[in-house]
């Protein structure tokens, strides 16, 4: 490049800075932005439309009778009481099983475990299990809980299955909650002569409890919608009674929905839509509960 540049050349160069027709990159960027935003909004809008249509179909069915009746061969008379009861039983039992196991495993991994092959094996297993299809859990439960352990097609077997399914999620959420507790607190407690289990029980767990509860409630709201493993374990489609003990046969909301949608009559499809609405409301309620707990945590932490 030569040092001296003629004035006309300078002016020609300068002209490139002045606004000309917008170069392709500008309109290209706007097109890309719009295309990507559309890609994101499209499924959300589609689902909103579908929900609206389902709600319309479900509306005539949604009343108190629906919630308190037994299923029936007559679509208009059928209700979801056994399904609601079954789901409630499952929720409670699954929580009772998954919380101690999940929290215990997380506490072990975070507080007690030393880095080594055993710990790595456990962690690899947990992350692997998170990717196993839920129907496979149903197979495991069929052989181990229903047949070998003799639980039969009971709500207990269903709860055990769901607990195993949720375990990886609960463990991960609990571990994250435990990690938010600063190490200095643990060390302070140990320095005061406490044993590890006392530190856990009196210091760490109480502090991480809200995070644990949030994680558990969120995973329970997932469990409420699970169908495939319950099918394998023998949740029945036509149950005309409310479960009375852990050994009762049972049904659940998603099973009932599946049962009704599989029938050819359109009237049952409306029932399925109505039951779906109830299911979604239940899940929303659980999610809202988790959010509430989380907000209480943030407010408490701010003090």
């Amino acid at each position: 490049m030569t040092m001296s540049v003629s004035r006309s050349a300078v002016m020609a160069r300068a002209a490139t800075l002045r606004p000309t027709r917008p170069s392709f990159a500008w309109t290209g960027e706007d097109s890309l932005r719009v295309a990507c935003a559309t890609a994101l909004m499209l499924p959300l809008l589609l689902l909103a439309v579908f929900f609206g249509a389902a709600l319309l179909d479900a509306w005539p069915r949604l009343n108190l009778t629906f919630l308190t009746s037994m299923p029936s061969r007559v679509a208009e008379d059928a209700g979801i009481l056994p399904a609601l009861a079954g789901t409630a039983w499952l929720l409670v039992l699954t929580a009772l099983l998954a919380i101690p196991l999940g929290v215990g495993a997380a506490v072990y991994l975070e507080e007690y475990a030393r880095p080594g092959r055993m710990t790595r094996l456990i962690e690899v297993n947990i992350s692997n299990l998170a990717g196993v299809p839920s129907i496979i859990y149903g197979l495991l439960a069929l052989e181990v809980f229903v047949r070998a352990a003799g639980m039969g097609r009971s709500v207990l077997a269903g709860a055990c299955t769901l607990a195993l399914l949720l375990l990886p999620v609960v463990i991960t959420a609990t571990r994250e909650a435990l990690r938010t507790v600063p190490t200095t607190l643990r060390e302070a407690a140990l320095g005061l002569g406490a044993e590890r289990w006392q530190v856990m029980w009196r210091v760490v767990l109480p502090m991480s409890l809200p995070g644990i509860i949030t994680g558990v409630v969120l995973s329970l709201s997932r469990a409420v919608g699970e169908t495939a493993p319950l099918i394998m374990v023998g949740a029945l489609g036509y149950v005309a009674f409310v479960p009375t003990s852990v050994q009762s046969a049972f049904t659940a909301l998603p099973i009932q929905i599946f049962n009704w949608i599989s029938r050819p009559q359109a009237a049952f499809h409306s029932n399925a839509a109505a039951a779906m609405v109830v299911l979604l409301l239940l899940m929303l309620a659980l999610n809202a509960l988790a959010m509430l707990v989380r907000r209480r945590v943030q407010r408490a932490a701010a003090h």
Binding site: A25, L40, L47, Y108, I122, L129, E226
Partner: protein, 295 residues
């Protein structure tokens, strides 16, 4: 100082036991699948399974060719991926490159909401709304078909792909983006020529995990894809997936210990192997992303 108290020791053991439940679960799954399948393979040799193209274990004339079921799974998965991959990656690009922080947070919450919709709902939509629409738009769409179920599966999987891909795109160092802008590149060129290639491993992992999820999905296909095991590449036809078959037989009156009962586990073994392989590949890709592609 003496050793820890009995309470401490017992607590430690109890907690270890809790942690081992996960190992036991894996062991249990593998054991259950292998033992029942072994009994199955003792009667039905691998040859019959791999070389037959019909699956009729419950009929009098029993065929055990696995391919109709695998084909059904792959066809519905392919339909799902046609929707989930472009929309998912495009969503990730929007979230990571174009959206302002408050918009990004709001949209991510919406995506999480989408991800928590129960699969029976997607099945309902596939059967009641997508299939009738397809029947209006295309000729020859049967009332149970792979396409409707697949499209809804794609919508279900989209949040997974979008979220994981967005992590990968977000993780591309800003020094690379700035280097590209400093060279006079526009936004579009930077995204396509610098950012996406750098995020490729992470995006690939996201897609593979999405495929694994689609392969293992049961309810959407059980409701809307059909119960006809047929080997076809035409998504307008009814097919039966591995998962739908397993569910169907479970709901029936097949007594335990019979050959028909064992088919559930043989098919389950095939399903488990496929998803395991996919998950391992995805895990390997994500570890490469974490180690950094910067050499």
């Amino acid at each position: 100082m003496g050793s820890s108290s009995p309470v401490e020791q017992v607590t430690g053991l109890l907690l270890l036991a809790c942690a081992c439940v996960s190992v036991l679960t894996t062991v249990g799954i593998v054991a259950v699948l292998l033992t029942e399948s072994a009994d199955f393979f003792a009667v039905v040799p691998l040859r019959r399974i791999l070389l037959d193209t019909q699956w009729t274990p419950l009929f009098a004339d029993q065929h055990f060719g696995i391919w109709p079921l695998v084909g059904g799974t792959l066809l519905t998965t392919a339909c799902a991926m046609v929707v989930a991959i472009p929309l998912g990656v495009a969503s990730a690009v929007y979230l990571a490159e174009f959206a302002s922080p408050p918009v990004r947070r709001a949209l991510k919450s919406l995506l999480e909401l989408l991800a928590s919709v129960p699969t029976v709902a997607f099945g309902y939509f596939a059967l009641m709304m997508v299939t009738p629409t397809l029947q209006q738009l295309l000729p020859g769409v049967s009332s149970f078909n792979a396409l409707g179920a697949g499209l809804m599966m794609g919508v279900m999987i989209l949040p997974i792909i979008a979220s994981l891909s967005e992590d990968a795109v977000f993780a591309v160092p800003s020094s690379l983006r700035e280097g590209s802008y400093a060279l006079g590149a526009g936004r579009v060129a930077t995204i396509f020529r610098v950012v996406l290639p750098s995020a490729a491993s992470g995006i690939a992992a996201a897609i593979i995990l999405g495929i694994s999820r689609a392969v293992g999905e049961t309810m959407i296909v059980a409701i809307a894809a059909g119960q006809q095991p047929q080997l076809t590449a035409d998504p307008r036809q009814a097919v039966e997936t591995m998962t739908a078959y397993m569910a169907k037989v479970s709901m029936g009156d097949t007594p335990a210990g019979t050959l028909e009962y064992r088919t559930i586990f043989a098919v389950g073994l095939c399903l488990f192997t496929m998803t395991l392989a996919l998950n391992l590949v995805a895990h390997h890709l994500r570890r490469r992303v974490l180690k950094g592609t910067m050499g």
